[in-house]
């Protein structure tokens, strides 16, 4: 199939555009998450997304509109549990994660069991993304990326050493709150690309791949973005051509890129 013919499909164009934006968004935020040892927040919030999608389906509303506020509240819950209840970060994520899954199962049961809609969110369905969802994805991605650009140095400083960031006058509490809210929006947007079950892969893989190769923080951000773009675009194309599940294909390509990065690092060091 010719590339021009391939790109003539509207659903593929939408998938490639939305997927690229969300990929860049995930990878940029993922670098901070990985370095702050907060990688699993993506997994925890994904499970909360499962609950929120079930709630949306029960209410017969668009999952995106319900999930964004619900998952934002869950992200704040994780932060407050860490700060006020003095739970360890992973324990706080575990609490919210379990609550999300339990809520989702309960709501699905009330709705009469799992259905095809819920499964499409569990495993992703980027090829079925609508025009409205594309616009929302692009808009929110641009908004989150701009926030990261504006607060880049604050985020970098907090990620490197939170105490010293505080003594530089950085309002670490506010920045941390902003950070988890941005993560929540990112997780919700990503569920369409790779599915709830695989969201954390899109957050973690590009970052850890970039960490094998790049030698400065800016280079890590750029490499992670490039890795995410390549994996999402090639994942969509390959899955379409070979009739494979898109989300899983994207994750496996990410794994391949990670192995390539790891090998590159070993060769350079040798």
């Amino acid at each position: 199939m010719e590339l021009t013919e391939f790109l003539r499909y509207g659903f593929l164009q939408r998938a490639l555009i939305a997927g690229s934006f969300i990929g860049i968004l995930c990878s940029t935020l993922g670098v901070f998450l990985v370095l702050r040892r907060f990688s699993l927040i993506g997994d925890g919030l994904a499970h909360a997304t499962f609950g929120s999608v079930a709630l949306a389906l029960l209410l017969k509303m668009s999952p995106l509109y319900v999930s964004i506020p619900v998952v934002m509240i869950c992200s704040l819950g994780i932060l407050r549990l860490t700060e006020r209840a003095r739970l360890y970060g992973d324990a706080a994520i575990g609490v919210v994660s379990a609550l999300g899954v339990a809520g989702g199962v309960m709501l699905s049961s009330i709705a009469g069991g799992f259905n095809i809609d819920l499964f499409s969110y569990l495993f992703g369905s980027i090829l079925s993304i609508s025009e409205t969802e594309v616009f929302i994805s692009i808009g929110l991605s641009v908004l989150v990326i701009l926030m990261i650009v504006f607060y880049y140095n604050e985020l970098l400083s907090i990620t490197f050493d939170e105490d010293s960031a505080k003594t530089s006058g950085i309002k670490t509490k506010s920045i941390n709150t902003l950070f988890v809210l941005l993560t929540a929006v990112t997780v919700v947007l990503s569920m369409k690309v790779v599915g709830i079950m695989l969201i954390s892969a899109l957050l973690i893989f590009p970052a850890v791949t970039a960490l094998q190769i790049a030698r400065s923080f800016k280079a890590v951000m750029l490499t992670a973005s490039l890795t995410a773009m390549v994996s999402v675009v090639s994942g969509i194309v390959v899955s379409f051509l070979l009739d494979l599940p898109t989300g899983a294909t994207i994750v496996l390509i990410n794994f391949f890129l990670f192995l390539t990065g790891l090998t590159y690092k070993r060769i350079i060091k040798a």
């Binding site: 140095n153 490197f160 105490d163 006058g169 790049a214």
Partner: protein
């Protein structure tokens, strides 16, 4: 009348129900050069963290440059060098230049982006510490001593008026340790920067600083080395030998006033 750089009044701090600091009161003036000493677990680092607002006391008041700590916003006046091991993640993918530039953030307004003059400041401080050639090197690839110098550069790049350094010389070789204290001495003498150096090395700190703040959950002593060496209370607290060791080292510093201390 110039305001004190730091005033601590009747400060108490507890971890759970364990008293770590009790009834701490002292003040630091412009140009003071203080060695904050005490045995392991005496509360030195905790005191520093409370002063910087990183830990909350359950009683007491802290004033920085005349402003209550809770309302203090002029963080560009403060330089802080945390304990080396706690501060640095060796796998963090930042270059030396990127880490040092973080020290300039307190002076910047939103959005806190770096410009050419900031880069020139980074270059200048790296030059002072003989690190300029490593500006683009990943900080994780440096030796422990070099990483410590990067953190020193980050603490002083902002030209602070009050500098707090916590166990600064642990990872430095003797040559670089002397260079570090020379830089501190210059900042203190030429720019009247108030400096607090936290150390457990009671025997050596007298070679460099002009005042001693000895903490062991409470203040045991605060004053000049002359007073320290002549104090009968200190003799009773430390014993004659320990007092002699501290004072003897102090007298080896050619920049410090000599006297017949510590021979009692």
């Amino acid at each position: 009348m110039p305001v004190d750089v730091l005033t601590v009044e009747d400060l108490y701090f507890r971890y759970n129900s364990l008293d770590v600091l009790t009834g701490i009161s002292f003040s630091i003036k412009k140009g003071d050069y203080i060695g904050l000493v005490g045995p392991n677990g005496s509360g030195k680092t905790t005191l520093v963290k409370v002063i910087l607002g990183l830990l909350e006391p359950y009683r007491g008041r802290i004033t920085l440059f005349g402003n209550d700590l809770t309302a203090f916003s002029r963080w560009e006046k403060i330089g802080y060098l945390p304990q080396h091991i706690a501060a640095l993640n060796p796998r963090f993918p930042a270059t030396v230049g990127e880490v040092v530039a973080m020290g300039l953030l307190s002076k910047k307004r939103f959005p806190k982006h770096m410009n050419r003059s900031d880069q020139a400041k980074v270059d200048s401080v790296l030059d002072i510490l003989d690190m300029k050639r490593l500006k683009n090197a990943p900080v994780g690839e440096l030796s422990g001593g070099q990483q410590q110098r990067v953190l020193v550069a980050r603490a002083i790049v902002n030209d602070p008026e009050f500098l707090i350094v916590d166990e600064p010389t642990d990872a430095l070789d003797p040559e670089m340790r002397d260079r570090f204290f020379e830089i501190m001495q210059n900042l203190n003498k030429e720019r009247q920067v108030a400096i607090v150096i936290v150390t457990h090395d009671t025997g050596n700190i007298g070679r460099y600083t002009s005042k001693l703040l000895y903490v062991d959950k409470k203040i045991v002593f605060y004053g000049s080395f002359e007073d320290f060496c002549e104090s009968r209370e200190i003799t009773q607290f430390f014993g004659e030998f320990a007092q002699h060791v501290i004072c003897h080292r102090h007298n080896q510093n050619p920049d410090c006033p000599s006297g017949d201390h510590g021979t009692n």
